[in-house]
């Protein structure tokens, strides 16, 4: 059982180091920012939500935006970039590269974009926990 002193010690340990580490880690790997702050359950739920949504988007034959001239494509890519290393992996392995004209593929594309946006929200939450703006 954790005593008050060990909890304080853990809290102090989590407050050391680079202040933006949970933000960057949480962006690159969904949930990692919360794991670094010892928020295991929250981190696991966030990781499951973001990775699950991204994977479902790909399974629905969703498209990964790769930029382009149109503003909507650029905005889509900005959302996809929120997935961090998942986006990089998708680009590397060619996931979501094929363009499929079915309704569920359109849903899948939106799932991938929203997964990236949700991951950004989660990473900012980890940063707020780290800075003390939100209580641990």
């Amino acid at each position: 059982m954790a005593t008050a002193s060990t909890r304080n010690s853990a809290g102090q340990n989590s407050q050391r180091g680079f202040v933006y580490l949970p933000l960057i880690a949480g962006w690159l790997v969904p949930g990692l920012g919360h794991f670094l702050l010892r928020k295991w359950i929250r981190g696991a739920l966030l990781a499951a939500s973001v990775i699950g949504m991204f994977a479902l988007g790909l399974l629905m034959k969703g498209k990964i935006y790769t930029g382009g001239q149109e503003i909507l494509d650029l905005l889509g890519m900005a959302g996809d970039l929120g997935n961090g290393l998942l986006f990089l992996a998708a680009r590397t392995f060619g996931w979501g590269a094929e363009h499929v004209q079915v309704t569920t593929a359109d849903y899948g594309t939106k799932f991938i974009v929203v997964a990236g946006l949700l991951n950004v929200i989660a990473a900012v939450d980890a940063h707020n926990l780290r800075t003390g703006r939100k209580p641990l």
Binding site: L46, S49, G52, M53, L56, F111, L118
Partner: protein, 59 residues
């Protein structure tokens, strides 16, 4: 699984988005759960209501 129904897609979307909203927008576990459930109900409920509205408009 790669071709879920429209309703299944809505429910999955609502489930994942509500989980993230609940955890990030509230501070205590109980309030996180309640806010997540509230968001989930609003997502699914609004989708059902708007679907009926579009169905009635299209008739």
């Amino acid at each position: 699984m790669s071709h879920p129904s429209h309703f299944a897609a809505v429910v999955l979307f609502a489930l994942f988005a509500s989980t993230v909203f609940g955890i990030t927008q509230r501070e205590t576990s109980q309030r996180m759960f309640r806010f997540g459930a509230y968001c989930f109900a609003l997502f699914v409920g609004s989708a059902v209501v708007l679907s009926w509205v579009m169905y009635l408009i299209a008739r």
